[in-house]
C-alpha cells in the first residue's frame, strides 16, 4: 500500500495543478511533473505516471491542446498548452477550491472548541 498522504489529494486536484502550471508556460509531460514537484517542495509526491491519464482527460475536455515538438534535451515530445476554455475552467476550480479550503480552515481553526 502506498502512503495516502503522498497521493493525489482529492479528485480534480491534479488537473487543477496541471492547468495552473501550464498557464505559466506550455511544456511537455516530464517537465510538467518536475515543475509540480519542485513548486510543491516535494510535499506532493505524485506518481509520475498518473499525470498522463489526467492530461488525456484535459485533452478530451478541450482544456489543453497538445502538439509534437522538440524538448530542451532534444527529444520528440508532446507539448501541452492551456486553451481559453482551460483558463476559465481553472479559474472556476480555483475559486471553488478556495471556498472549500476556507471552510476547512475555519473548522480546523483553534480556539472555539
Amino acid at each position: 500500500m502506498k502512503q495516502p498522504i503522498q497521493r493525489d489529494l482529492f479528485p480534480g486536484a491534479l488537473e487543477m495543478m496541471i492547468l495552473r502550471t501550464l498557464k505559466r508556460q506550455p511544456m511537455h509531460g516530464y517537465a510538467l511533473v518536475q515543475q509540480i514537484k519542485r513548486t510543491s517542495n516535494d510535499v506532493l509526491r505524485i506518481e509520475e505516471g498518473s499525470l498522463y491519464p489526467a492530461l488525456q482527460r484535459l485533452l478530451k475536455e478541450g482544456f489543453v491542446k497538445a502538439e509534437w515538438g522538440i524538448s530542451a534535451t532534444n527529444r520528440r515530445v508532446r507539448i501541452y498548452k492551456l486553451t481559453a476554455a482551460g483558463g476559465k475552467h481553472l479559474e472556476r476550480e480555483v475559486s471553488s477550491f478556495e471556498r472549500m479550503l476556507k471552510g476547512i480552515t475555519q473548522v480546523l481553526a483553534p480556539g472555539e472548541l
Binding site: E47, E48, G49, S50, Y52, P53, Q56, K60, R76, R78
Partner: protein, 645 residues
C-alpha cells in the same frame, strides 16, 4: 460521428501514448544517470516512480475509449472461443433456442401480417364495413353476420349520407365463362357504384367500373382480377376493350385490378356491375355487404349516427309493395354497427391467433429454461475457470458481462437459425393455405418480424444468463476454488436454482399439456358432429349454374337440370346424383325468407320469423345419404306438376 473518428484513430492514439511515456522514462533515466546513478538502477528507479506503465496506458486509453466497447469485443471473442470449445453443448442449445425463437417468429409474422399490419388499401383507416344488426327480427338465428343491406338501403344511404366520401354494396357469386379455352366457373364480385371509389385502388390497366356502367340492361362491362388476367389472358395489355362471354352474354372488359388487390379478404376473378334497377326496388332484399370510406375527420360514431338518421328515411322512401306497411321494420330494431374494414376482414381470428401466440410464447419459455439448465451445468464445470479469473483480478461485473455476452451470443445465433426456421414455416403455412385464415397471401417475414425476433433473441439470451450469473459470479472465490475440486460434491444451494427451473418447466409444460388436451377435445367434438351426409369419401361435388340468359323459362331450366342429372347418373361408377343450392357446412350465404305456419295467427304489423332454407332436387337426399326423420323425397313428376309440397 466523433466516436467513429476516435475509433479509427485509436491505433495512432495508442502509438503516440506509448511514445510519449517512453520519452518520459528516457528523460528521467538520463537525468538520474547524470545525477550519478548507474543506468540499470536509474531505469528501475524511473519505472518505480512512474508507476505501472501498462495500467497507466490503459487508463489513458479508457479516457478516449467508447465506453468499454473494446472489452465487450474481447468478451465476444472469449465467448466465441468458449462456445466452440464445447460443440455439443452449443449445438443442443442452439437447436433448442432456434426452435423456440423460430416458432415465435413464425407465429408473430402471421399475427403481424394478419392483425397488426394495415390493409393494403390507400388510407385503410378510413375504410369501414357497413355492419347492421336487427335484434328484433325473429327466427333467423344467424345474426353473427348481422343484417346485410338491401338495394333500397344502398340507394338511401348513398344519396342521403353526410359522413362518407363514397359508399357502395357488393356481393360475391359465380358465373360461367365460355368462349375461352374451356368453360370455367369463375368467382365474381358484384359491385354497386361507390365500392371501387371507396377502395381507391387504381386499376393496373384500363379503368374502374363507373356510374355509367351501372345502368340496368345497359352495355355490360366487367373488370378482371390480376390473377385471372394473368391466367386467362397472359397479362396481355390489349385485353381492355375485348369481350368475354360471361353467363353466355358478351361483356366488355374495361379494366384490370392490380396484383394483390383483395375484395375484403375474398379472392375473385371478375368484377361485375350490380346495375340495380332503381324503379323496381323494394325495402327487402337484404343480401349485400356495405363498404364505405369515411370523410376526413369523421368517426365511426358519427357514421353510426348518420345511418341511424337515414333508416326512417329509408322506410319512408320505399315499400314492399302496395298494401304493406313500410314501418313494419321498426319491429326489427335495426341498428347500425359500423366496423373498421380491417375488423371485418380479420373476423374472429384475432383471438385465436393471440392464443396461439401465447402458447408459443410458453414454448419459448420452456426452451429458455432448458437452455438455462444446460448453461448452469456448464457454468458449474467452468466454476474453477471463473474463480481463477476472479482471483486474477477480473471484477464481478466483468465476469457477469462475460456470461451475459456469451448467452446473448447464443440467443442471437439461435435467433438467426430461428429466422430460417420461421421462413420455412411461413412458406409451408402459405402453401398449405388454411382457408379460414384471412389475409393469408400477405403473410411474410418483414422488418417488424425481424425486429421482434432480434428483441426476442437478446431477451432470451439475457434470460438464460441471469441464473448462472447470479449464482456463480458472486464474490465467493475461495469457496468456489475449493469446491470445484473433486473433494466436494454439489452443494445444496447449487441444486436450488436447478430445482426452481425444473418446477417452472413442469408447470409450463402442464399448462401447455392441458390446453393442448382441451384443443384436441374440441377438435374431437367437431369431428363427431353429424354433417348430415353419409360416406363423404364417395361424394363428388360439381358446381353448375344455368344462366338465365341461356335458358329463360323456368320449366325448361327444370327440364335441363333433370337431363343433366340423368346424364350424370348414367356415367359409369356414378350411383346417383342430385342438385342442392348449398352443401352442408359450405358456408355460403343461405337463402332465407319469412315462413308462416298454418296453425298460427300472425299479428298485423309484424314480420313472420325468418328461416333458412335450401333448394334441392329429387335424388339429393338419397345421394347424400341424408337421414329422413319421416316421409320421402320429392319426385320429378311432382315438380313438373307444380304440386305444392
Amino acid at each position: 460521428m466523433n466516436w467513429l473518428r476516435q475509433l479509427f484513430s485509436r491505433r495512432r492514439l495508442h502509438r503516440e501514448l506509448s511514445e510519449e511515456i517512453q520519452a518520459h522514462l528516457d528523460e528521467k533515466v538520463e537525468e538520474l544517470v547524470a545525477g550519478g546513478m548507474s543506468r540499470e538502477e536509474a531505469r528501475r528507479s524511473a519505472r518505480r516512480e512512474f508507476g505501472n506503465v501498462g495500467l497507466i496506458e490503459e487508463n489513458c486509453r479508457e479516457v478516449w475509449g467508447w465506453p468499454s466497447v473494446e472489452s465487450v469485443f474481447l468478451d465476444i471473442r472469449y465467448g466465441w472461443r468458449a462456445l466452440s470449445h464445447s460443440p455439443v453443448f452449443t449445438a443442443v442449445a442452439l437447436l433448442t433456442i432456434a426452435i423456440g425463437i423460430g416458432a415465435n417468429a413464425a407465429v408473430f409474422s402471421v399475427v403481424n401480417s394478419v392483425l397488426l399490419r394495415p390493409l393494403h388499401y390507400p388510407k385503410p383507416e378510413e375504410l369501414v364495413a357497413l355492419h347492421q344488426v336487427a335484434p328484433g327480427a325473429e327466427g333467423l338465428t344467424d345474426f353473427e353476420n348481422g343484417l346485410l343491406l338491401s338495394p333500397s338501403m344502398y340507394f338511401t344511404y348513398a344519396e342521403h349520407n353526410q359522413t362518407f366520401q363514397s359508399l357502395g354494396v357488393w356481393v360475391t357469386g359465380t358465373a360461367n365463362v365460355t368462349g375461352l379455352a374451356e368453360p370455367e366457373q369463375v368467382r365474381t364480385v358484384g359491385v354497386s357504384d361507390g365500392v371501387l371509389q371507396a377502395f381507391s385502388v387504381p386499376p393496373a390497366a384500363g379503368r374502374w367500373l363507373l356510374q355509367t356502367d351501372q345502368v340496368p340492361r345497359g352495355p355490360e362491362r366487367v373488370m378482371l382480377s390480376y390473377g385471372y388476367w394473368q391466367r386467362c389472358f397472359g397479362g396481355s395489355q390489349t385485353v381492355v376493350g375485348q369481350n368475354i362471354m360471361l353467363d353466355s352474354q358478351p361483356r366488355e372488359i374495361v379494366g384490370v385490378m392490380p396484383e394483390g388487390f383483395q375484395f375484403v379478404g375474398a379472392d375473385f376473378d371478375v368484377i361485375v356491375p350490380l346495375a340495380f334497377d332503381r324503379g323496381k326496388q323494394i325495402l327487402a332484399g337484404f343480401g349485400y355487404h356495405g363498404i364505405a370510406r369515411l370523410k376526413l375527420g369523421t368517426t365511426i360514431a358519427d357514421a353510426n349516427a348518420d345511418i341511424a338518421r337515414m333508416l326512417p328515411v329509408w322506410m319512408d322512401s320505399w315499400s314492399n309493395g302496395p298494401g304493406t306497411n313500410p314501418h313494419i321494420y321498426e319491429t326489427w330494431k335495426i341498428r347500425p354497427m359500423i366496423r373498421p374494414l380491417k375488423q371485418e376482414v380479420i373476423g374472429n381470428v384475432g383471438e385465436l391467433l393471440w392464443v396461439v401466440m401465447g402458447t408459443i410464447g410458453a414454448v419459448l419459455l420452456i426452451a429458455c429454461a432448458n437452455v438455462t439448465n444446460l448453461l448452469l451445468v456448464r457454468v458449474e464445470t467452468r466454476q474453477q475457470e471463473l474463480a481463477v479469473r476472479a482471483a486474477l483480478g477480473a471484477g464481478w461485473a466483468r465476469i457477469v458481462r462475460g456470461l451475459l455476452v456469451e448467452s446473448v451470443m447464443l440467443g442471437l445465433m439461435g435467433g438467426v437459425l430461428g429466422i430460417g426456421l420461421a421462413y420455412a414455416g411461413v412458406r409451408f403455412l402459405v402453401a398449405m393455405g388454411p382457408s379460414n385464415l384471412p389475409r393469408l397471401s400477405e403473410v411474410s417475414l418483414d422488418a417488424r418480424t425481424l425486429g421482434f425476433t432480434l428483441v426476442l433473441s437478446v431477451l432470451s439470451g439475457l434470460l438464460f444468463a441471469v441464473f448462472p450469473a447470479l449464482k456463480y459470479a458472486g464474490p465467493r472465490t475461495a469457496a468456489a476454488l475449493r469446491s470445484a475440486g473433486r473433494t466436494m460434491s454439489a452443494s445444496r444451494e447449487r441444486h436450488r436454482a436447478r430445482n426452481l427451473l425444473v418446477v417452472g418447466q413442469v408447470a409450463m409444460a402442464l399448462v401447455l399439456l392441458v390446453s393442448a388436451g382441451l384443443m384436441i377435445r374440441t377438435f374431437e367434438a367437431m369431428r363427431n358432429v353429424d354433417p348430415g351426409l353419409a360416406d363423404p369419401q364417395h361424394l363428388q361435388l360439381v358446381r353448375i349454374s344455368i344462366p338465365g340468359s341461356l335458358v329463360a323459362e323456368p320449366e325448361r331450366v327444370t327440364r335441363t337440370q333433370n337431363e343433366i342429372l340423368d346424364k350424370l347418373a348414367a356415367i359409369r361408377g356414378v350411383k346417383s346424383a342430385g342438385f342442392v343450392s348449398e352443401m352442408p357446412m359450405e358456408g355460403f350465404d343461405s337463402d332465407w325468407d319469412e315462413i308462416f305456419a298454418e296453425d298460427k295467427v300472425y299479428a298485423e304489423n309484424t314480420i313472420a320469423p325468418l328461416r333458412l332454407y335450401k333448394y334441392i332436387s329429387p335424388g339429393l337426399l338419397q345421394t347424400a345419404g341424408t337421414r329422413l326423420v319421416a316421409g320421402r323425397e320429392m319426385t320429378w313428376s311432382e315438380i313438373y306438376g307444380l304440386q305444392p309440397l
